[in-house]
Amino acid sequence: MHDLRGHRAYADGAFRWAAAGAAALVLLILGLIFITITSRSLPVFHQMGLSFFTTSRWSPADALFGALAFIWGTAFTALIALAIAVPISLGMALFMTQVAPPVIKKPLVYLTDLLAGVPSVVFGLWGVLVLSQHFGLGRSFLTAGIILAIMIVPIITSLSREVIETTPPGDKEGALALGATRWEMIGAAVLPHSAGGLVGAVMLGLGRAMGETIAAALVIGSALGQLTLSPLAPGNSMPAVIANEWGEADALHKSALIALAVTLFVITIIVNLAATAIVQRSMRKGQGS
């Protein structure tokens, strides 16, 4: 058969491959990130071995790099941020979906969008010059946790709202028809239906809180080797250390900072993979019913 479309079919195929290539770029970049930064972090692992993860003495001058305190600091600030942000975000999402009339709902969407649009360095500036100085918090885990909480509220709120909105109206009306109050209806119909998706939304917030650099770098206090449970102590987190120490780091020190980035990358990728899978499954369930 003679193809009447000739070179046009050829152009069509080229366009298709270009589009597929652009899509494949996502996988390529993610793979390259892992390979390139891991290879650059090898010198510090040759030096420290696994004690990089299990000791907390960080002394670049003595070529000692133990990251345990920073890993703990990352987890600790992220947990403080979640403890503050999750109830507030859930309350706001429930208010927007179950209580607010459409007239109020729209400005509230703008409110969360605006909050999400403030650059993190601006929150950091406010945190270091206003929050930590005028509210007696100093630079500490708690100050960093509060700033991070403000920054992850928008993402948890908007995802929770999307998940909650997939609750079948029939479930809600059924609960109300049985005489349930609004809160009982939320407990009986909305929350059980959205539980999976809400967990995913919270985990995405956790991922963001752990990776947030600049605001944390400004307010966390940059204390070395603190393995403490006190939220008011100055501390440090992995991304904050990288941002604060990069400028004056020599080769091995840089390698250690890149090793922190590898650690951070692996942890956040795992958290995000799990969270995305949970959210997508819960959304599909919502659409199916």
Binding site: A22, F95, D113, G117, V121, L125, W126, I269, N272, Q280
Partner: protein, 299 residues
Amino acid sequence: MIDLAEVTSAQPDLSAKRSWRSVKSTTMTGLMIASVVLVALPLIAVVWAIFGRGVAVAFHGFPDFFIKEIPSVARRAGPGMGPAILGTLMVTGAATLIAVPLGVLGAVYLHEYGVGNRFSRLVRFMATVMTGVPSIVMGLFIYVVWTLHFGYSAFGGSLALACLMLPVVIGATEQMLKLVPNHLREASYALGTSKSRTILTVVLPAALPGIVSGSLLAVARAAGETAPLLFAVGAATEYNPHLFEEANTALSIQIFGNATSSFVAAQDRAWGAALTLVLLTFIITLVARVFTARIASRR
């Protein structure tokens, strides 16, 4: 619901229990309203601080602050964020030119070609995961593959921002392609048009306003990024109009550098730069909203 409450309260046995339950429900509604207030408060406080401290700095002797070079000695008072404004525009502009075409093309594959196949499902999933990669990791990635070989430049920062924007643009564009009605595509095929031509001349123009607004939101977000620029752009104090050569600077880098300074003059410049950055992102977001409103009114 109110009717229901009245009916129930007409029965004496249930009314006592009912009132306790409705008190609980009202309390929880009150807590929800309180959480809305708790979300609004920090936003108001931050905006208040930026305008309260930034306006006096940025608009003193207008337009000095937006044009003059940055004092190379931090404690010296006086204006100057011009190079940082130029740097932010260059870094973000080049990042947009890289990320938006690639992102749109990627989304075209996901929605027009690879519907339902395993590859496109994997890409869509990983794109969502990629939006969660910490920006500082992206910065170090670009440091290793670019800055180590070519040195500081605005373009290195653009590459880092483009990597951060790519999955956002893909996601936003795919949402918009979903809204293009299928009969447009079918009408085009019926005229004998090839698939690529249909996409370029029918589908993409129909989705254009949405793609523009989605991309602009990604641009606004990228313009405020700091961490990825620290390792790629440097911190110059003079104008550098060359995209590929020499250290440059950006508003976010200047805010970060000046925020921890103990000199009041430097802190003042940080507030002025913060105001400038917020106004810049606000303008971009506003343009995006106008585009979004336009598609909303067309439908």
